[in-house]
Symmetry: none
Subunit: 198 residues, 2 copies
DNA sequence: ATTACTATTAGGACCTAGTCATAAAACGGA
DNA sequence: TCCGTTTTATGACTAGGTCCTAATAGTAAT
């Protein structure tokens, strides 16, 4: 006797979770049982067939891709946006943002939220960060909601705009930064020559 | 005559790109041709069948999930590390790092590489960025390899360390930053009291 | 109109990775 | 030994194709 039914089914479940692109045939070889047994197991465990599993993973990916396109530009959710004036975005700190050791958000995520908001607030085809001074006032922890507020300070003629961003958790400022942005409408000459420079 | 072969094939290609989960049958209805014509078209355009398309999308998703996990500690690959002295990391700019519009790397990825390197070089349990001044000297494009070099400038007694990072592509500096870091060994009192402060 | 050629459609055999239903066989425990 | 569970086998059928052959349409040039 290799494994009891219940044991096999538990292992099966885990195996399919870890490796969803596996056929019944391959599973039957691994467990040294017939293909029909595997199918009975899937039936009892309500695990769909390979093609449905693949489809499910692919749909997720597709939905995210579709979702990601409009989001692409900004990290966090924009809750208010007045072009060339101000913008507000919200970022909820999840496990993917923190150091596993101490649950403190990694600085570059706060920077990314602020920086992408500074890019988004600019009403031009192209906006790139040229310089920036930032400070992290206190650590942000897992589960906190960071609200970033961007303000456009000055828009000079020479393709430069200054944007300040203050990020806070419950009224307490956790991050602040000044972003010196380069901006350009694509129609102008500056852009493509700039891009080809490498 | 509805569409010429070449026109239909162009549209077909676009349609499948936009909506890869479409069967030949559905396509044949849309173009009002037989299923065989659609299959000939796919053959000529080297477009794989529905199931292969789904599998491809799903694999991508899967690979990214797997890839996203180990990223945790440092953005980029560390190629040299001398604790409390210097460190070097390498980041190859992929499609996930760039603005789709112009293929220029988004600033926060360069920041993330530099910042996480500054954190990594510090020989203490806890290292957090307190302040930073950074500048983006020229846009970095898709496919370029960014080499970030971090140097520890000064290590004062009061938990502060200054680290500079210069990132370059083929000897040309693309990013530079100064990071004012807060560091602490976990044994000391400062850390946990600090963390519980919210 | 006839020929020549491309484009389209049709058909059948085969494939994978299954479903669903039925039945037979093997195994474990009282 | 008999009973109930578990496993295996078998056959019919499905979607969404591949691959190959062959017939038919449509268009253009002679």
């Amino acid at each position: 006797m290799k494994l009891k039914k219940s044991e096999r089914q538990e292992n099966l479940k885990k195996m399919i979770e870890e490796e969803p692109f596996i056929t019944d045939e391959e599973l039957s070889k691994r467990f040294k049982v017939s293909i029909q047994t595997i199918r009975l197991d899937r039936l009892e465990l309500a695990i769909p067939e390979l093609r449905e599993r693949i489809k499910y993973v692919a749909k997720q990916q597709w939905d995210e891709t579709v979702k990601a396109l409009p989001i692409d530009e900004v990290i966090g959710d924009i809750v208010d946006l007045q072009l060339d004036l101000s913008a507000i975005s919200l970022l909820e700190i999840g496990t993917e943002h923190v150091f596993s050791r101490n649950q403190i958000a990694r600085g570059h995520h706060l920077f990314a939220q602020a920086n992408s908001l500074a890019v988004a607030v600019i009403n031009d085809q192209l906006a790139l960060t040229a310089n920036s001074e930032i400070s992290f006032n206190r650590p942000v922890k897992l589960g906190e909601r960071v609200i970033a507020k961007a303000k456009v300070i000055s828009t000079e003629e020479n393709h430069r705009t200054v944007v300040t961003v203050e990020s806070s958790v419950q009224q307490e400022i956790v991050f602040s930064g000044t972003f010196y942005m380069y901006r350009s409408t694509d129609e102008e000459r500056g852009d493509s020559s700039n891009e080809n420079r490498n």
